[in-house]
């Protein structure tokens, strides 16, 4: 039986499918080049759409992630039994009330932070875990006074990251603990370098003799001596000269709805 030999060089006279694939490959590169040449016109449009989509699906996500779907089996059974008795209107009203209560709480916390530091409260308009580059979007832009380099904080005053790209309707924030990022930190008055691991986690190596307690705040000079996390776990091995300190943000990123943006010079 004759064996078909594959060759990339045999594109001349290739089936239409491969020609289409070749055309599409060039097209995506052209679109990317257009975006760069237009100073991000394409990405601004896409990020604005993401912002609208994120807000439009807020109640659905709230129901899926905050509701009964991810609770224990027992509570699920109880929830199911009670849900059967509820009419559709009641469910919708409860969901709306819950969403508003959460929003109210988040805004109250932001108000407390605002009294301490001058800045802008901005909604989070994208997922924290979808980005492979350790970024997320906030619903504030240049017209709101956002600038590249501004520092983004949680309502408790912990640093989330820095604004790196300001668009027409959204701004892109790179997490302080983005994967492979390196940042100078201070733990219990010991200077060290933290390696970002994404999702608000980092790892720091410090000399073994230094006592570091769980819950100790971790400060960063590059973020204006603000806390960027707390010590979650310390692993010390007698065979090694250093100990590993695992640092994390004391907030659940997926539940964050608002952030506080302060100028970098503050």
């Amino acid at each position: 039986m004759a064996r078909h030999e594959f060759s990339y060089r045999s594109l001349h006279g290739a089936p239409r499918g491969r020609q289409r694939l070749l055309f599409a490959s060039f097209l995506v590169l052209v679109i990317f080049a257009i975006d760069i040449a237009s100073h991000g016109a394409v990405r601004n449009a896409i990020r604005s759409s993401e912002s609208v989509l994120w807000r439009a699906t807020a109640s659905v996500r709230e129901t899926l992630l905050g509701g009964a779907y991810f609770t224990s089996k027992r509570s699920l059974a109880t929830e199911n039994a009670s849900l059967r008795t509820l009419v559709a209107d009641d469910k919708a009203r409860e969901s709306t009330y819950s969403a508003l209560a959460d929003e109210n709480r988040a805004l109250r916390e932001m108000l407390g932070l605002r009294e301490r530091e001058a800045g802008i409260t901005a909604p989070v308009v994208s997922s924290f875990r979808s980005s492979p580059y350790g970024t997320f979007l906030i619903g504030a832009s240049e017209s709101d006074g956002i600038k590249n380099g501004d520092i983004v904080l949680t309502s408790q005053g912990f640093v989330l990251g820095r604004v790196v790209d300001v668009g027409n309707r959204t701004a892109s924030v790179r997490s302080a603990f983005a994967s492979a990022s390196r940042i100078d930190v201070l733990i219990s008055n010991v200077a060290a370098e933290a390696e970002g691991h994404g999702s608000g986690n980092a790892r720091v190596f410090v000399p073994r003799g230094i006592m570091i307690a769980t819950g100790t705040p971790v400060i960063s000079a590059s973020f204006g001596q603000r806390p960027i996390g707390i010590v979650g776990h310390v692993v010390s091995d007698e065979s090694r000269a250093d100990q590993v300190v695992y640092v994390s943000l004391p907030v659940e990123l997926s539940t964050l709805r608002y952030v506080y943006v302060v100028p970098s010079n503050q």
């Binding site: 594959f6 289409r20 990317f32 970024t135």
Partner: protein, 90 residues
């Protein structure tokens, strides 16, 4: 290749990949992109890679941080899997 059932699988995978770009962890998008590329000559994988870069990538300071990794990765993926795909599609 072009049977209605295959087309439905392709549409479902492509839609799943598209939605995952916005809402799911990145590994979900990667798995769906690879699955699409393995079975189909899926030009949509290229556009999904581009979408990931345009949505999440930010200006970097180093050469590698400025590269559209997912766009380039998608191009490599669809072309690198072409011989294997041809075998599957026979």
């Amino acid at each position: 290749m072009s049977s209605p059932r295959i087309s439905k699988i392709r549409i479902a995978l492509a839609l799943g990949a598209l939605v995952s770009v916005f809402f799911a962890p990145i590994w979900v998008s990667i798995v769906l992109m690879v699955a699409l590329s393995l079975r189909f000559r899926a030009i949509e994988v290229l556009f999904i890679g581009l979408l990931i870069d345009l949505l999440w990538m930010t200006p970097g300071t180093t050469f590698f941080s400025q590269l559209p990794l997912f766009t380039l990765g998608a191009i490599i993926l669809v072309w690198a899997l072409e011989p294997l795909r041809l075998e599957i599609m026979k």
